[in-house]
């Protein structure tokens, strides 16, 4: 009987914390996103009115407002494209690295893996800041380009979308490599030998054997990079310019500059519905499925 009490304590302490400080805040975002906005503090009306009998006072205007204005949709699309491109480059750089690390001998493998992940432990903000130094007009990259004679005057490398992509690929690369390595590490290297023995050349072996077997790793790594990048705020703020607006920046300004709380909440909640929910459902289903099939 004592066990029961003890189990309850273990299950419900974190349950309570997460409902109070995670679920309710999400519910509040939803509530404010369907509230009627007005001038004042707080800048929205209550959704339940009691003055003249009970009345529910909600609106979908904030969503309509966002999804009919190109300023908001455009930045949403910009963020999705940015996330797609960055994920692609992370995969392009991360896959060969993960593959070659996974096929190294076991001692070297562990050392290399730690070496790859360690930069991820150093401060995110400072790693982005490092690129600000590298990409300056009189920074190292420009000095090299000038000395090689590739360009005759310093290039404007900072404050544009390419600098943003650079920064993202750099900071998120370890997140791509880790799950890729996890799956590549598991599979049997003899398969590659076998496919070679059976007459497949290198390219065919890659596309017919290695790639299909690493799909779970590719999916996991891509999700780990894609989702946070859509909401990324710091990197575009530090390295980006005014050529592209992104979701994170728009959300930030809608709240802090325009003081439009319902609008910002509608933006945030749309982000959750479009972005996060499908992935969480996918993960729950996937983990159930893999438990059932004992993978």
């Amino acid at each position: 009987m004592k066990n029961k009490l003890f189990e309850k304590y273990f299950v419900f302490s974190p349950y309570f914390w997460l409902v109070l400080f995670f679920f309710i805040p999400l519910a509040i975002i939803f509530k404010i996103s369907i509230s009627v906005s007005e001038w004042g503090m707080p800048p929205y009306q209550d959704i339940f009115l009691f003055d003249n009998g009970f009345k529910i006072n909600t609106t979908f205007e904030n969503y309509v407002y966002i999804f009919s204005d190109y300023y908001y949709i455009g930045s949403f699309v910009n963020s999705l494209i940015l996330a797609l491109i960055s994920t692609f480059f992370c995969l392009l750089i991360g896959f060969p690295l993960a593959f070659y690390i996974a096929t190294s001998n076991i001692r070297l493998r562990n050392i290399l893996l730690v070496l790859v992940v360690i930069p991820f432990w150093s401060s995110f903000l400072l790693r982005v800041y490092a690129w600000k130094i590298i990409l300056q007009n009189n920074g190292i990259l420009n000095v090299i380009l000038l000395n090689l004679g590739i360009t005759s005057e310093p290039l404007q490398l900072l404050y544009n979308q390419y600098a943003v992509i650079m920064g993202i690929v750099y900071t998120y690369l370890p997140l791509m490599i880790l799950p890729l390595y996890g799956y590549l590490n598991k599979f049997d290297l003899n398969l590659i030998e076998a496919s070679k023995d059976l007459g497949l050349n290198r390219i065919k072996t890659f596309f017919k054997v290695i790639l299909p077997l690493s799909v779970p790793g590719i999916v996991a790594g891509s999700l780990l990079v894609f989702i946070p990048v859509v909401g990324e705020f710091i990197i575009p703020e530090m390295l980006g310019g005014s050529d592209r607006l992104y979701y994170g920046k728009i959300l930030w300004e809608e709240f802090f500059v325009n003081r439009n709380w319902p609008g910002a909440s509608a933006l945030a909640f749309s982000g959750i519905i479009i972005l996060v929910l499908p992935i969480v459902i996918f993960q729950i289903l996937y983990s159930r499925w893999s438990q059932k099939n004992e993978i």
């Binding site: 066990n3 003890f6 997460l18 690295l97 096929t103 290399l112 432990w121 400072l126 710091i234 982000g271």
Partner: protein, 264 residues
């Protein structure tokens, strides 16, 4: 032979890409010149200025305090979740439980920060607490999104380890609680330490959530650093970077030591 050359080249280039920016940062931290990009000579001047910069030192202390406290709370709650998910069969609304404990991992920080801020404002309207935001509200927010990271480490560790040890102890007369404290927790201790280190680093490094939930007297280190480098470069931040990167990398090495220990 050709393929092993390609292999070494790829690995070398990959590591170069990962470490080059960090080395550049450390290199420039020794530049005497106030203008960061113009090299004037080796000097420790900016380290000296850094240690005399009260704003940065104060922010550093606040950050460490919040990180240590929120890591501790997140670890306690995260261990409970990890344990519940693996060992306890009856969890009411289990899908909801999994949803709550895994969503913070994938939710963009910006949305999390906004929801916490609006929550605290609403809470204050309803019960008059917290009357102003500050270290306490940052602490609560950090615990909330660090829990998931600890839980996932503990869950992986408990799935790995042999339940027979626990059952054997139970057969030998240990009760449930005693098994937990004498057997289970000591065995997963390295993972608990690893989880704490991860949570500590995440909290120490967080800018976005802290920016939303901060208030008077609670400027954390990332907030101060961001305000200094948002529009330009700062030689003091260069010096800070070098020190912080070094310290955090050491923490990272400890993390690997504790997290990998059980695998051998």
């Amino acid at each position: 032979m050709k393929s092993s050359l390609i292999k070494s080249t790829v690995i070398f280039l990959g590591l170069f890409f990962l470490y080059f920016p960090i080395l550049v940062l450390i290199f420039y931290s020794f530049n005497e010149n106030k203008r960061v990009m113009v090299w004037k000579g080796f000097s420790l001047r900016w380290y000296n200025e850094l240690f005399n910069n009260e704003q940065i030192i104060e922010a550093f202390i606040i950050s460490i305090k919040i990180a240590a406290l929120s890591a501790t709370f997140a670890t306690i709650l995260g261990v409970m979740i990890g344990y519940s998910l693996v060992r306890i069969r009856k969890i009411p609304f289990k899908s909801f439980y999994i949803f709550l404990s895994s969503t913070p991992l994938v939710l963009p920080e910006l949305i999390l920060g906004l929801s916490m801020l609006l929550f605290f404002i609403n809470l204050n309207n309803v019960i008059g607490f917290p009357s102003s935001r500050g270290q306490l509200t940052i602490f609560i927010s950090h615990v909330t999104f660090c829990i998931a990271f600890v839980a996932i480490i503990i869950q992986a560790r408990l799935t790995d380890f042999n339940k027979n040890i626990e059952e054997a102890a139970m057969d030998l007369g240990y009760n449930y609680t005693k098994v937990l404290y004498k057997i289970t927790l000591p065995i997963i201790l390295p993972s608990i330490i690893a989880g704490w280190l991860l949570a500590f680093t995440i909290s120490l490094d967080d800018l976005v959530v802290a920016s939303f939930t901060t208030g008077p007297g609670a400027n954390t280190l990332p907030i101060v650093v961001f305000s200094k480098v948002r529009l330009g470069l700062s030689p003091e931040v260069n010096a800070l970077s070098a020190i912080l990167m070094f310290a955090l990398i050491i923490i990272g090495l400890f993390y690997f030591y504790f997290n990998k220990k059980f695998k051998h």
